[in-house]
């Protein structure tokens, strides 16, 4: 135990802050983007829906390194779009914290989108119609009726998105790299110290990740728990 406290004292904590920051920003982006995409997709007919759904879910099922490969293709400073970003807006993605965010967002977004979509599809369309006949604007209907009613599904989507974004490794390592204090996330730190044979430090980070993840799942159960109470056992 004393070695653990010693370790904690002498540890470089930057990976935790980088991971948390990345997780929070990626979650916020995914939240709005996911709700928006879910809303758009459920309006479409069955065929278009299937196609769009496939595309939007792809980053979740692809190996993260494959997603990372595509991200590199897009944002590399030796390619058109990367050059454009760099020359016009002075924005660099590769090997920057922005890269962390983009990688985490792309990988975690489908979780938000899928959960939001599932929650929206459960909504009684009459609620929306009622809002319309009462004269509520579409925006008010969405934020005051649809989102609160879909609340538990959206909340669990948000938490899963955060957990996934925080733990992202594959795409992040390819796009943002592992620059200590800049793009070095917890996941990348674990991989790095294990390569050095430092199992003590790796173990320490693993415990922290376990705690955060468990807390996230616990939070989901609390939020959705109210509804679970009414479910009959079988």
């Amino acid at each position: 135990m004393s070695t653990f406290t010693q370790l904690a004292g002498s540890l470089d904590w930057s990976p935790l802050w980088i991971s948390l920051k990345t997780g929070v920003v990626a979650t916020i982006i995914s939240f709005f983007l996911g709700l928006w995409a879910a809303r758009k997709v459920i309006k479409k007919d069955y065929r278009t829906k299937s196609i769009l759904d496939g595309i939007l879910t792809l980053p979740m099922v692809l190996p993260p390194t494959v997603a990372g490969f595509f991200l590199l293709l897009i944002f590399s400073r030796r390619r058109a779009f990367g050059i454009f970003l760099n020359d016009t807006f002075n924005i660099q993605v590769v090997h920057t914290w922005l890269g962390c965010i983009i990688a985490a967002t792309v990988i975690a977004f489908p979780l938000m989108y899928r959960n939001a979509r599932a929650a929206f599809e459960q909504i009684d369309a009459n609620l929306v119609y009622a809002g319309r006949t009462l004269g509520m604007s579409e925006l008010a209907i969405f934020w005051r009726i649809v989102v609160p009613t879909a609340g538990p599904g959206i909340a669990s989507g948000t938490i899963l998105t955060f957990a996934r974004a925080m733990g992202e490794y594959g795409a992040t390592s390819m796009l943002a790299g592992n620059i200590p204090g800049k793009t070095g996330t917890v996941s990348q730190r674990i991989a790095m110290v294990i390569q050095d044979g430092d199992y003590m430090t790796a173990g320490f980070w693993v415990v922290i990740v376990l705690l955060i993840t468990f807390f996230a799942v616990f939070l989901i159960n609390i939020i959705t728990g109210k509804h679970m109470k009414n479910v009959r056992k079988w």
């Binding site: 119609y129 009622a130 809002g131 006949t133 004269g135 509520m136 005051r144």
Partner: protein, 358 residues
């Protein structure tokens, strides 16, 4: 505004989805309009079209002089702009909002004024004290009152009630029917109620439209539709149980071929007569001597209900099909009489109660 408001609804609605076609024209100046139809007849679709939450291929919808939809002039107001209140079968209360928030949801203007107005409305609907509850914590009847309060507070020009009592059970349903009339008493605009229940609509509506397979079969003053349904399908929907094909023998005599009797009438038989109908409650029992327009019968089955007895009888006709069974429903004094004297020898049809059908 009460009493002086012009009330004139015109709705001509055409829609084709798959192999269902809706071709409905409703024109009415009545304050309480009923649409009677079985499920899938297109009656709810008609309401949704008027409210603007269902697509319409072509037609014209107008309240007084305000056009809501006109396919020729490419006018199609959003539901938000139609000023039409819609009460859904399941009330569609917003589950995460309190009763007060639900009522305030559609109100425009300052929140403080709205709150006062909403509280007044809640009080009027005997919901004061419930304003902070969630809809899920209310009884079915209370939920319905919230739904109506939420509509009334926006002062719509037309209110649409979509099967308003179908989510309620027995006793509450009866009570809410009376309550609904009471709550709508001071409402100056028109109200359309859609239902599959003839009792609900008989009680509620001044003018009745009977819908089947997307078309209006018959419309008119509610009582007239019940007493003179004209079409066999309409007669069935108004609750008539007994029908027979008819052969016209002469100006005042017809043969009810399914029942095997001839009927003498005092009025002239209309040329278009194809069927007659007779309501199960209207047979008169005759003991002893056979009178005019009587059916001799064999009893097939008796159903005992709390307040009436239903006799299913086979008419005297020689060849007999199962669906030719006649229904004779007996209640009250007559039921006592039958119990004392035993089954009558004949059932008599009275001319006033014979429904002349196409």
């Amino acid at each position: 505004m009460v009493g002086t408001a012009v009330k004139k609804l015109y709705a001509d609605i055409h829609r084709e989805i798959g192999n269902f076609e809706l071709n409905i024209t409703i024109e009415s100046e009545a304050s309480r309009i009923g649409i009677l139809g079985a499920s899938g007849s297109g009656k709810s679709m008609t309401l949704r079209s008027i409210a603007g939450i269902e697509e319409v291929d072509s037609g014209l919808i107008r309240i007084n002089d305000r056009v809501l939809f006109d396919s020729d002039k490419r006018i199609n107001l959003k539901p938000q702009k139609r000023n039409v209140g819609y009460m859904f079968q399941n009330y569609a209360l917003f589950p995460t909002m309190t009763v007060l928030k639900n009522v305030m949801a559609g109100m425009k203007g300052s929140a403080d004024d709205n709150r006062i107005k909403a509280m007044e409305m809640l009080k009027r609907f005997r919901l004061d004290g419930y304003e902070d509850r969630l809809p899920g914590e209310l009884s079915g009847g209370q939920q319905q009152r919230v739904a109506l309060a939420r509509i009334m507070v926006t002062e719509p020009e037309l209110i649409l009630l979509d099967e308003p009592f179908s989510a309620l059970d027995g006793y509450l349903r009866d009570r809410m029917q009376v309550e609904m009339l009471e709550m709508l008493k001071d409402y100056p605009g028109q109200v359309i109620m859609v239902s599959h229940s003839r009792d609900e609509l008989y009680r509620f509506s001044e003018e009745l439209f009977v819908v089947r397979k997307g078309e209006i079969l018959r419309h008119g003053e509610t009582k007239a539709v019940f007493s003179d349904p004209v079409k066999i399908e309409v007669a069935k929907m108004t609750g008539c149980k007994n029908f027979s094909d008819v052969k016209i023998l002469n100006e005042r005599t017809i043969e009810a071929t399914d029942w095997g009797i001839t009927i003498e009438l005092e009025n002239k038989v209309p040329e278009w007569l194809g069927h007659i109908g007779y309501r199960a409650h209207y047979f008169e029992p005759v003991w002893g001597e056979r009178e005019e327009n009587c059916i001799r019968f064999d009893l097939v089955r008796v159903d005992d209900l709390p307040f009436e007895k239903n006799y299913y009888i086979k008419p005297e006709k020689t060849e007999f099909r199962e669906d030719d069974l006649l229904c004779w429903f007996v209640q009250g004094e007559e039921q006592k009489r039958v119990e004392q004297k035993g089954l009558p020898d004949y059932l008599k049809l009275t001319e006033d109660n014979i429904l002349l059908l196409e």
